[in-house]
């Protein structure tokens, strides 16, 4: 059975000045991660200070290749009583090339039995409010 995407249509997308660059890049189908411009320490999420040197300057870099750090399998009733349960897989996606930062996102369209910690992933995009929300699948 394959994992499905959670319904995010009812969830608003608030953006502040710290998350704006992430969503601007996502609109272009680019997955980026923030790094301190002063000391090159990666961080996620984009909080207002570098926790190592307290600089506020950020540079947004390509996140690189994703792999699965951890995951869980959540079964939800389908929209109608006789529908099969939907399987949603919240995953913790790790970016080894971006300092090992982890990003929580849905693992979609993937054979649930094949999902493993360490599995390489491919990013996909779900359109949302003029930008795109990243989702990931096996492979």
């Amino acid at each position: 059975m394959k994992s499905t995407a959670p319904d995010i249509t009812q969830i608003p997308l608030p953006i502040d000045q710290w998350t704006q660059p992430f969503w601007d890049a996502a609109a272009r189908h680019e997955l980026v991660m923030p790094r301190c411009a002063a000391c090159q320490t990666w961080r996620w999420p984009p909080t207002p200070f570098c926790p190592k040197c307290r600089s506020q300057e950020l540079e947004w870099m390509p996140a690189g290749r994703p792999r699965l750090y951890s995951y869980t399998i959540v079964r939800r009733p389908g929209p109608n009583p006789d529908d099969p349960a939907q399987i949603v897989v919240p995953g913790l996606v790790e970016f080894p090339e971006a300092g090992g930062m982890r990003f929580v996102a849905a693992i979609v369209e993937s054979e649930v039995e094949a999902i493993r910690i360490g599995a390489p992933l491919t990013v996909g995009w779900t359109p949302k409010d003029g930008t795109n929300v990243p989702v990931f699948s096996l492979g």
Partner: protein
């Protein structure tokens, strides 16, 4: 060993209710009943109260002062932290006593879930902030799936088995069978555990704690005064609340450093509480371990030094947390089987164990450890002695 400055001299509680069944009582009504019961248990008067401390949970000292006619407060404080701070109320109370800011402090905890308000969906009901949206978009709808990410990692890294989580739940159920007010009293077999529906792999329904309503209160005063009061004093030998940037917001963040990710995040606060109490894990006779999710009990046993990192699963499966085991855990049945009031029932059980009146009494219990929930900083813990 340092001489304890403060002691718990009164313990009070409302009855324990399944979620929503405390209605039509209000939350403040439950709190008032618990305080009145605790003060009576101590042989004191409400008028004696001059300090109020609580774990942050949607109620204010001002309302309590007004409601109960407390003439004059000289100390009021709250520990923050999503359940992690629960045992920290004892740290605040003993700080107030030690510094002379108050003489009679009540520690309060209350849980009441009415209508649509449920902790199980507490992440989804969080304000949709620019940072929270990432969790919401991923399908993480409650604390359970987030804990599952940690438990999954522990299994991957150390080979921990679901049998260990099952043992935590089965042990809690066996203890709860003797508890007069326990919500879940039916014994549980391994087959029944494995037949329970999976809610968030590797967590099944039985790995989640109860959702219940109750209020509890504890009266803390100086060790010197405690010796003249009616109850056998239970000394606060050490208490702590703290944590570091390697753990931060914990499951709201999920970027904890790799070496602590598959843990309960309690190593720092464990070190703090043992240092303050001047004891080691070998000295602890009974452990009241915050059990919102069974895998986190396994990880706390590691963090608090009852076994080595990664060996919690085998330790639990050996029977270590059962009566007569290396460290009896949650003889009241805990949050998994007795009642969930954000750590407060653990304080009550520690007091009863050290008074020697517990329903599942650990013979000659002298030191009890109480832990706050694996949760955002500050995490907390306390060590009590009789």
């Amino acid at each position: 060993m340092r001489k304890a400055a403060a002691a718990i001299v009164g313990s009070g509680s409302t009855p324990y209710y399944f979620r929503g069944q405390s209605a039509p009582q209000t939350q403040y009504e439950l709190i008032g009943k618990a305080i009145i019961a605790a003060i009576a248990d101590a042989g004191l008067m409400v008028e004696d109260i001059d300090g109020i401390v609580s774990y942050a949970h949607g109620f204010e000292a001002s309302n309590i002062v007004e409601m109960l006619g407390i003439p004059e407060l000289s100390y009021a404080a709250t520990v923050t932290g999503q359940g992690g701070g629960s045992a920290g109320v004892l740290d605040l109370a003993s700080s107030a006593i030690e510094s002379g800011r108050a003489q009679t402090v009540v520690c309060i905890g209350c849980s009441q879930q009415l209508g649509a308000h449920r902790y199980g969906t507490s992440l989804a009901s969080l304000a949709t902030t620019p940072l929270a949206v990432f969790s919401l978009f991923s399908g993480l709808v409650g604390p359970g799936p987030s804990m599952a990410l940690i438990a999954q990692r522990h299994m991957h890294k150390y080979g921990t088995r679901r049998e260990a989580f099952a043992e935590v739940v089965m042990a809690s159920r066996d203890y709860a069978m003797n508890m007069p007010e326990a919500i879940r009293k039916k014994p549980l077999t391994l087959d029944e555990y494995f037949a329970a529906p999976m809610l968030a792999d590797p967590l099944c329904r039985l790995d989640f704690c109860l959702e219940t309503d109750a209020a509890l209160a504890f009266v803390v005063t100086s060790a010197e005064r405690a010796r003249d009061l009616r109850q056998k004093p239970v000394y606060i030998e050490g208490a702590a609340h703290g944590g570091g940037s390697d753990w931060g917001r914990a499951f709201f963040w999920l970027n904890m450093e790799d070496d602590v990710f598959a843990s309960a995040g309690a190593e720092r606060v464990a070190r703090q509480v043992y240092e303050r109490a001047g004891v080691t894990p070998e000295d602890i006779d009974v452990a009241l371990i915050y059990d919102h999710f069974s895998p986190l009990v396994v990880m706390q046993l590691e963090d608090y030094g009852f076994c080595k990192r990664g060996e919690g699963g085998a330790f639990v499966e050996s029977g270590a947390i059962r009566p007569g085991g290396a460290i009896p855990v949650n003889p009241h049945g805990g949050h998994l089987s007795e009642c969930y009031v954000i750590g407060m029932t653990h304080i009550r059980e520690a007091v009863e164990q050290l008074r020697g009146v517990a329903h599942n009494q650990v013979p000659d219990a002298r030191f009890a450890l109480i832990t706050g929930g694996p949760a955002p900083v500050p995490m907390s813990a306390a060590i009590l002695r009789n």
